[in-house]
């Protein structure tokens, strides 16, 4: 799918859909949205829909940032305190490392 070939309204529609679907716990989709539409939103010469595309890209980037922060914090806490949580820690673990730390 090549963005060049799409008319501007369709580009806007696509960007918007990506933004909305990203709310279903899909920060990766927001990342794809930001990267893919970055050139369209910020580098290309202005056209009528560009302002809206820009806002969607910015909001996707914001959402992505929030998710990254939350995930990083959670992973750090988990890795640091997993051993101390005992049974609860094991319960929410997917893989448990073998051997002694």
């Amino acid at each position: 799918m090549n963005l060049e070939r799409l008319p501007n309204e369709e580009k806007l529609g696509l960007c918007r859909k990506y933004y909305l679907i990203g709310f279903a716990f899909l920060p990766f989709l927001w990342l794809v949205n930001v990267v893919w539409f970055f050139q369209e939103a910020f580098i290309k010469p202005a056209y009528s829909e560009q302002l809206q595309i820009k806002s969607y890209v910015k909001r996707s980037a914001l959402g992505l940032l929030v998710w990254v922060t939350v995930l990083t914090t959670w992973i750090t806490i988990f890795q640091r305190f997993r051993a101390e949580w005992g049974e609860v820690g094991d319960y929410i673990s997917f893989t448990i490392p073998l051997g002694t730390p």
Binding site: R5, L26, W36, I92, S93, F94
Partner: protein, 406 residues
């Protein structure tokens, strides 16, 4: 682990090489006709038409060469992922007692003859399953049961993107002995799978779609490497490439019929599960083609179709399309070589497959019709594997034993 039928559907139909829009077989024959007809006519006009024709041929050949190179990258990437996984994650090279239901005969037999017989029988079972699946899918396509095909494709890719990647992730974490919590894994797999579904079946950046296709081919190849018994895998590779040859080139072959039906209906053939080296279809096409696209995805497997791009409103980039089954079986070959043999053999197989692919693409440029991509590459690969393993390696070993450098 018994794979479901949908798995079969995926790999069955994926071995195909399609010279996408770049070659327009419809165009050149007609110009040729026009040239031949007016014999005594204005020689200048003839000359010009001839020139134009030659130029067009040159252009297509040059384009073809460019796209050959463009196919090398994804094929290499797929094989690299498979080999890297096998070398690092031991799970995929451990033999398990579980076998796919498609290979019912065991290889733990007392005698060599019995084992050989069992592997041949296994490959017969597997090949017949593939044939039945292909014929079934061709019939579905012929009778326009698009909804069914669409649903089947979605289920198959769901399984690949979620279940197999979940398994894969679990094994990678176990190998590196890291503790991972369930919420994180769920988020990771959900993101990977959902974005994959969106890119493959709906709209997404081309590079990401290509990457996903490569990854799911690699995952599928890893599953095969893990669950196919040793000798059966080699015999199956041979059998599937023979089947590919027959199915694509014989007039009544299912894949050929599929190509022809799609051409008659002027539809793009299975865009989503064929890897294309460039955007091959016009964006301006109406929606009926969209639904058919996703349908034909998985079916497109062992197909080499010629897609003469429907003369679209917009110009399209030309490209060559390679079925995902080709990726899968190439990677299975190289992966099995890396499991059981050393790096010499692995690299030899890799080179052999690329050479086969190159030759196939040259033939594609010459013949301008859909060609099976498996037979040549797999033949070279098998020849190189067995000769390197049994001849070259002991030779190199004894050379280095005796410190004799050549």
């Amino acid at each position: 682990m018994a794979s479901s039928d949908s798995d079969d559907g995926i790999y069955t139909e994926r071995t195909a090489l399609v010279p996408a829009p770049s070659y327009r077989p419809n165009d050149t024959p007609t110009t040729r006709n026009r040239v031949n007809a007016p014999r005594g006519g204005a020689s200048a006009a003839d000359g010009r038409v001839l020139e134009a024709e030659e130029e067009e041929e040159e252009l297509t050949l040059k384009y073809g060469a460019k796209h050959v190179i463009m196919l090398f990258v994804p094929v290499t990437l797929c094989m690299a992922v498979v080999v890297a996984t096998i070398k690092s994650v031991s799970f995929y090279s451990e033999k398990s007692d579980q076998q796919l239901i498609y290979t019912p005969f065991t290889e733990n037999t007392a005698s060599v003859g019995r084992r050989l017989l069992n592997s041949v029988l296994n490959s017969l079972v597997m090949t017949s399953v593939i044939v039945i699946m292909t014929v079934f899918l061709v019939l579905l396509y012929k009778y326009r049961c698009y909804k069914f095909i669409h649903g089947w494709l979605i289920v198959s890719s769901l399984m690949l993107l979620f279940m197999f990647s979940f398994m894969y992730l679990g094994e990678v974490f176990k190998t590196y002995n890291v503790a991972v919590d369930i919420p994180t894994v769920l988020v990771l797999v959900w993101n990977f799978g959902a974005v994959g579904m969106i890119c493959i079946h709906w709209k997404g950046p081309l590079a990401l779609q290509q990457l996903y296709l490569i990854l799911i081919s690699a995952l599928m190849a890893l599953v095969f490497i893990k669950y196919l018994p040793e000798w059966s895998a080699w015999v199956i590779l041979g059998a599937v490439s023979i089947y590919d040859l027959l199915a694509v080139l014989c007039p009544k072959g299912p894949l050929r019929m599929l190509v022809e039906t799609a051409q008659e209906r002027n539809e793009p053939i299975f865009p989503a599960l064929i890897y294309s080296s460039a955007m091959a279809w016009t964006v301006g096409m109406a929606t009926p083609s969209d639904t058919q696209r996703s349908d034909t995805d998985e079916e497109a497997e062992p197909q080499s179709h010629v897609t003469t791009s429907p003369e679209g409103d917009q110009e399209e980039e030309r490209g060559v399309k390679l079925g995902l089954g080709d990726f899968i079986f190439y990677s299975v070959l190289v992966g099995k070589a890396s499991v059981t043999a050393d790096w010499n053999t692995t690299l030899a197989c890799f080179i052999a497959i690329l050479i086969g692919l190159c030759v196939t693409l040259v033939l594609l440029a010459v013949w301008r019709k859909a060609l099976p991509a498996l037979p040549l590459s797999v033949t070279f690969g098998l020849v190189f594997y067995f000769s390197t393993d049994f001849l070259v390696r002991p030779f190199m070993d004894s050379l280095s034993d005796h410190q004799f450098y050549i």
